[in-house]
């Protein structure tokens, strides 16, 4: 096996294992920590795909930002921290059937298609290419994204304001 294959399988094991732990762990705090591991594993997959800029963004925004605010939300909303409340509902069988069916559908579609085996030649400076496209061809979506983030943050602040 080449080095890339070893890295891929290691990352796949970490990613799938921590994703399973996210949905199955009974303690919500542990679930968030497993999510941090899963997001870091995804950053590893991005590195494997030679997208180092996206790996950095993934670590900063996801593994840093989202995990922090989720932990804050748990601290604010959980009255009985540590108590073993049943975290899953009675729909485990239904959920398993639905997700396995979706998985079978996607995998059968992916397996049937003739997909690329080899990568396209690497861009010499990917970060530069992304920056240039965002500032030229995709400038309108970029500005809309800025508007969306301002609206979302204002909305979040409005929701979370203290009662008056």
């Amino acid at each position: 096996m080449s080095g890339e294959q070893v890295a891929f399988w290691l990352l796949a094991i970490v990613l799938v294992g921590s994703a399973l732990a996210v949905v199955l762990s009974t303690n919500l705090f542990h679930a968030v920590l497993w999510l941090a591991l899963a997001l870091t594993g995804t950053a590893g997959v991005f590195l494997l795909l030679e997208a180092e800029f996206l790996a950095a963004v993934q670590l900063l925004l996801y593994a840093g930002g989202i995990v922090t605010i989720v932990v804050f939300a748990i601290v604010v909303t959980e009255r009985l921290v540590g108590e073993r409340i049943s975290q899953t509902n009675r729909r485990i069988a239904g959920g398993a059937i639905v997700s396995v069916a979706v998985l079978a559908l996607i995998v059968s579609a992916v397996v049937e298609r003739p997909l690329a085996i080899t990568r396209a030649p690497a861009t010499d400076d990917l970060t530069r290419a992304i920056g240039e496209s965002v500032m030229t061809r995709y400038v309108l979506p970029f500005e809309l994204l800025a508007l969306l983030m301002v609206a979302a943050l204002l909305g979040a602040i409005y929701f979370a304001r203290p009662d008056d």
């Binding site: 919500l28 997959v45 996206l54 605010i69 639905v98 979706v102 085996i117 496209s133 983030m149």
Partner: protein
């Protein structure tokens, strides 16, 4: 590894996230499942971009990451608001809109 391996890995993570969304009781747990699903989509976008030799997929990934962060911030604000109004974040008990 070919494109197929990355797509199947992403599909597995997506379906695990879907399972979490369907089975979790806690609203925050449901949000964690949604994060996993969006994350799987990002793997797909980057893999297609890398194997297709087109930078557009990576730019879409930057956009989805930003949208996901907004979604998480708003979703958690709604969870905190719900907790303040109903004193619970269990999805089974949030049935205000049930006829």
């Amino acid at each position: 590894m070919g494109l197929q391996a990355y797509l199947i890995l992403a599909a597995v993570v997506f379906c695990i996230g879907l399972f979490g969304v369907v089975t979790r009781r806690n609203t925050i747990g449901i949000l964690l499942g949604i994060e996993l699903m969006l994350n799987a989509v990002n793997i797909n976008l980057v893999a297609f971009s890398r194997f297709g030799g087109n930078v557009t997929g990576m730019i879409f990934t930057v956009f989805t990451i930003c949208i996901t962060v907004s979604e998480a911030a708003l979703g958690l604000a709604i969870v905190i608001l719900l907790f303040r109004v109903r004193r619970t974040v269990t999805a089974d008990h949030l049935d205000l809109l049930k006829g």
